[in-house]
């Protein structure tokens, strides 16, 4: 996995990127995610169901964060909000200095494309497409020209050690390999955050261990990772754990 560094360093060193390296006033890294009093309310006919009751927290660049909680705690709702798949009913959400709380569908799609890399429990790869094409998908919607797109996708696959499986379809790959394709797809566009929803939920223990090591490595390379899981030993790999219960933050602990 010696190529991993190329992913994180592939972004052109523009003035903006250099600026991002500057630590904030209190000595910490830059704030990537700022959630302020986030409410999510579902209208279930007569009654309103509050999935989130005013959640506020910050995530800094380079953090390795796990969000845990039992089912029905609002964990998934929070993940959808962080991943810009949904917008809050109330409250403000800044992702990489952009207020995404009031964005429409297409603006959110743009943000997902540029700022968020998703890794799902069930991989969510296109079944008929090769690993390479799956990894290229975000670049296609991001408007990256063909030759560059190929190059970037190949680099991302090399970073997850799948160069020799590039032209295989998902059904020709093992679970662990599929998840690594998904991780390559999440990283290929150099997103601000890597958002993983139960990334080991569909994998056996040994493979889970490999995938968690990969996340560890990606974190060490400077990626910001947010892990959503209900498994404590998985969450324990992160450096900060936010526990959600009944739509509120119950605990927010720095582990390491």
């Amino acid at each position: 996995m010696s190529d991993t560094a190329t992913i994180t360093s592939a972004a052109p060193s523009s003035g903006v990127a250099v600026h991002a390296e500057r630590p904030s006033a209190d000595g910490k890294a830059a704030v990537l995610i700022a959630m302020r009093d986030i409410w999510k309310t579902y209208d279930m006919g007569a009654e309103k169901v509050h999935a989130l009751h005013g959640v506020s927290f910050d995530v800094h660049r380079g953090e390795y964060l796990a969000i845990t909680g039992p089912s029905g705690s609002g964990k998934s709702t929070l993940m959808n909000l962080i991943g810009c798949l949904d917008t809050p009913s109330q409250g403000q959400y800044w992702l990489n200095a952009k207020n995404v709380s009031d964005m429409d569908d297409d603006e959110l799609a743009r943000i997902r494309n540029q700022e968020v890399g998703f890794v799902f429990q069930t991989f969510n790869l296109l079944a008929r497409a090769t690993a390479l094409h799956n990894v290229e998908l975000p670049l296609i919607y991001g408007g990256i020209p063909g030759a560059k797109r190929h190059e970037m996708a190949k680099q991302a696959l090399a970073a997850v050690d799948l160069t020799d499986r590039m032209l295989h379809r998902p059904n020709e790959l093992s679970g662990g390999q599929r998840q690594r394709v998904a991780i390559a797809r999440a990283l290929v566009n150099h997103p601000s955050i890597l958002l993983a929803d139960e990334p080991t939920g569909a994998l056996d223990t040994a493979t889970s261990y490999d995938i968690m090591n990969l996340f560890q490595k990606l974190h060490e390379d400077g990626n910001t990772i947010i892990l959503v899981t209900h498994e404590h030993d998985i969450a324990a790999r992160a450096h900060r754990i936010i526990s959600i219960r009944d739509g509120l933050i119950e605990k927010d602990d720095q582990v390491k």
Partner: protein, 452 residues
């Protein structure tokens, strides 16, 4: 409910990713890449579901075939008709008691009150019209004909005078001869027959061998002295089942209606006028109209001429009048099958969207916008209908070719109708793909990702 804070928390700094100018630069490429991706996805999906694709294609092919075949046949018919009626050239016009086309009972009653045309009228036109070249008279009726045990019930008998009427009619001798002036004036029982008269009444006998034989027409016997060159068929009807006899003979045997009776089974006289060239046609018509109005005692303030003056254009006019509506209806009816094809495509696309909800969710999660998803499904619909359209054009030409072969008229295959077929079917694809595509585009990504 708590109030949301309006001030962004400090500090906020940009993360590490592609710079804004880099992304702006790639913007024009975006649509091309997404459209190409959509096309590849469409082709892959169509190949994946072969049976479904085949059924959809059949729906479109049938529709396009129907339209192309109808359009091709209509163009062929139009060409046949205009060639046929132009064969006499635009140097001939006729003067008759009533027009060849009567469209109402009122007109019929009015025209029947008119005086019939007489040989005297023809003689007056011949004498007074300076722009005219030659004139002739003709009278027609349908009579049964036979030779030996061969019969033909609906033989067109045409009495003409002088022999120049053959030329005005646009017919030429194939074997034998026209009649002499002496035979014409004396009312000899001679005839010149169309080529199909020989075919029908003298099986397996050549035109030469039919010469000198007798045929019975309307109860009288005539000697065949000439056989005409074939004119061919129009709409499957032969134009070569005619028997020409001298006018004097016709008058003697069948009589000519000079009485002005409402019903004249023996036929009434028509005067044919030919000018040296098409340029003189109009002035000749004016002269003949003046001569005839004078002979009918019409003053200038009387609207009705008392006779009908017509060129062959009336047939073309009538033809286009009669057929233009039929054509519209026929094309309309065949276009219905195209609409049905469109509904088939829509149905298939709706199934496809439902089946691929998960895929749509994945695409949206990695950044596909509504219009990207919309484009993908519309392109898929257009791809299948355009292929169907192209195949339909081929089968349409094939069907038209077959029909043209059976009926006997020239086949006009035009690039224009091929382009029309493919573009119309593509439009059908866009229209029928729009609604399923819109449903796909507005799927909620969270719901779509949950689908299996």
């Amino acid at each position: 409910m708590p109030n949301s804070s309006e001030t962004p928390p400090e500090p906020l700094v940009f993360g590490k990713r592609l710079s804004l100018p880099a992304r702006l630069k790639s913007f024009p490429v975006l649509r091309v890449a997404a459209i190409w991706e959509a096309f590849l996805v469409a082709v892959a999906s169509l190949r994946q579901n072969k049976l479904r694709t085949a059924l959809t294609l059949v729906g479109i092919i049938v529709g396009v075939t129907a339209v192309i075949a109808v359009v091709t046949i209509i163009k062929g018919l139009d060409q046949t008709v205009s060639q046929t009626f132009n064969s006499q050239g635009s140097t001939v016009f006729t003067v008759s008691k009533r027009p060849q086309v009567i469209t109402s009972r009122e007109e019929f009653v009015k025209y029947n009150k008119r005086k019939p045309m007489t040989p005297d009228d023809a003689e007056a036109i011949e004498r007074l019209c300076t722009a005219c070249w030659r004139t002739g008279v003709a009278v027609n009726s349908i009579k049964p004909a036979k030779h030996g045990d061969q019969t033909f019930e609906t033989m067109a008998v045409r009495g003409i005078e002088p022999a120049a009427m053959f030329d005005i009619d646009g017919v030429a001798i194939d074997s034998g001869r026209f009649w002499t002036d002496a035979e014409s004036e004396s009312g000899s029982d001679v005839c010149v027959v169309g080529s199909d008269v020989v075919t029908n009444l003298f099986p397996n006998v050549s035109a030469e061998r039919a010469l000198g034989q007798d045929i019975w027409v309307g109860g009288h016997r005539y000697l065949i002295i000439g056989v005409l060159q074939a004119l061919g068929k129009i709409f499957g009807v032969s134009r070569d089942t005619r028997v020409y006899i001298p006018f004097a003979t016709y008058k003697k045997r069948f009589g000519v209606d000079f009485s002005g009776a409402a019903y004249a089974p023996q036929g009434s006289l028509v005067v044919f006028v030919q000018t040296p060239s098409p340029a003189e046609l109009e002035s000749a018509e004016d002269q003949v109209r003046a001569i005839m109005r004078n002979r009918r005692g019409k003053t200038f303030n009387e609207d009705d001429d008392g006779f009908a003056l017509e060129t062959q254009d009336v047939f073309l006019d009538l033809y286009s009048k009669a057929t233009s509506n039929i054509y519209l209806v026929t094309i309309g009816v065949s276009a219905i099958s195209l609409v049905v094809g469109g509904i088939v495509v829509m149905n298939i696309m709706l199934v496809s969207v439902t089946e691929r909800t998960k895929e749509i969710g994945i695409r949206k999660a990695v950044g596909a916008r509504r219009k990207d998803i919309m484009t993908q499904f519309v392109i898929e619909a257009v791809t299948v209908t355009a292929i169907g359209g192209a195949l339909g054009v081929l089968t349409g030409f094939g069907a038209a070719w077959l029909i043209a072969l059976l009926i006997g008229f020239p086949l006009l295959i035009s690039v224009w109708s091929a382009v029309l077929g493919v573009s119309v079917s593509s439009v059908v694809g866009v229209i029928s793909g729009m609604w399923p595509a819109w449903r796909a585009a507005r799927l909620d990504p969270i719901e779509a990702l949950r689908a299996e």
